[in-house]
């Protein structure tokens, strides 16, 4: 799995603002227009990974996600909080004996967001092939 960036990665050029990087001809294409409407929140790699992993599991613990995403505690909690604020995931904190346990679940809004994102990606590829 690719190494994930930190929360500061939001400032890097995303598919959305590639329009300014790649010049006018491509920027005016239908593919680029579709890229504009991308959900930036789950476009970031680590957040996309969290949502994708939760889409195939009822719930995952913080340590499961950390292992899966090969990231640090701080990085995971920052990105998970962003998804939580957008109500894409829910977070439940409990104790297993004396050990604190954090469980994440994907919400219906989060699942819809992932489906929309997948549709966008497929549409981008289709639009490029049709050109």
């Amino acid at each position: 799995m690719a190494k994930h960036g930190t929360a500061r990665d939001d400032r890097r050029p995303s598919v959305g603002n590639l329009r300014t990087l790649r010049g006018k001809s491509e920027a005016d294409s239908p593919a680029s227009a579709r890229a504009e409407s991308l959900d930036r929140l789950i476009h970031e790699r680590l957040r996309l990974g969290i949502v994708s992993a939760l889409a195939v599991n009822d719930s995952l613990s913080f340590s499961d996600l950390k292992k899966l995403m090969k990231t640090t505690d701080g990085n995971l909690s920052v990105h998970a909080r962003k998804l939580e604020e957008a109500e894409y995931i829910t977070c439940t904190k409990s104790f297993a004996g004396r050990m604190p346990k954090t469980e994440y679940k994907l919400t219906a809004a989060g699942r819809r967001a992932l489906e929309r994102y997948l549709d966008h990606m497929e549409a981008l590829i289709r639009a490029t092939r049709e050109r």
Binding site: M1, V56, N57, L124, T128
Partner: protein, 205 residues
């Protein structure tokens, strides 16, 4: 001597095209889902159900007066248990919205099936040869082998359970045959329940 820096630097590489990034993102989502799917490939509650079936089979097998009678009971349990397990795996995969034969699920089935087929064939061979007492040990060894190889793509607890089955098989092969039902009950009953509950609780059912 100082190095010479050319006046005309190479142009920066072109940023990847949109469709290339889109394909890369789709591949990333698929890979993440496959990796995360290992958490769902084995049903913990299915294992608990198999453990209960094995415990009931052990009680019935104890009541049999011959090794062959006991063997028939275990064969019946060996037919019923995979059906229950398969139902539990399908149910869990559906609840998690993941295709049954995608990624780790497919790998598990491909790795688990060969030792099971070998076990079925060897059961016929050993039964015909009249070496019925060796069958429980062989079953445990091959079942454990299947769980270890299939579990290589799952959470760590699954191959650990496979090793426990293999150890139980070794014990069954080198102890008196009168212990077989007890060892089978402890392994197929006890180990499935003992490992199934934590898997169900920690890995979504």
């Amino acid at each position: 001597m100082a190095s010479v820096t050319p006046l005309h630097r190479a142009p920066p590489p072109e940023p990847p095209a949109l469709h290339v990034r889109a394909m890369d993102n789709l591949a990333f989502i698929r890979d993440t889902m496959e990796a995360a799917g290992s958490f769902t490939a084995v049903s913990g509650w299915g294992m608990v159900a198999v453990g209960i079936i094995a415990t009931i089979a052990a009680v019935i097998a104890f009541a049999q007066h011959s090794a062959v009678g006991s063997l028939y009971v275990w064969v019946a349990a060996a037919v019923l248990a995979p059906c229950v397990m398969l139902w539990a795996i399908v149910r869990k995969a559906r609840r998690a919205h993941v295709p049954l034969l995608a990624g780790p699920g497919r790998k598990f089935i491909l790795s688990f099936s060969p030792p099971m087929l070998v076990g079925a064939l060897l059961t016929i061979v050993l039964y015909r040869a009249g070496v019925v007492d060796a069958i429980p040990g062989m079953w445990l060894l091959l079942y454990g082998t299947g769980v270890v190889t299939g579990g290589a793509f799952s959470v760590r607890v699954v191959p650990v359970m496979g090793i426990c089955f293999m150890l139980a098989g070794v014990i069954a092969l080198f102890t008196p045959s009168s212990w077989n039902d007890m060892i089978m009950a402890a392994a197929f009953g006890g180990l499935h329940i003992a490992f199934g509950i934590p898997i169900a609780r920690r890995h979504g059912g």
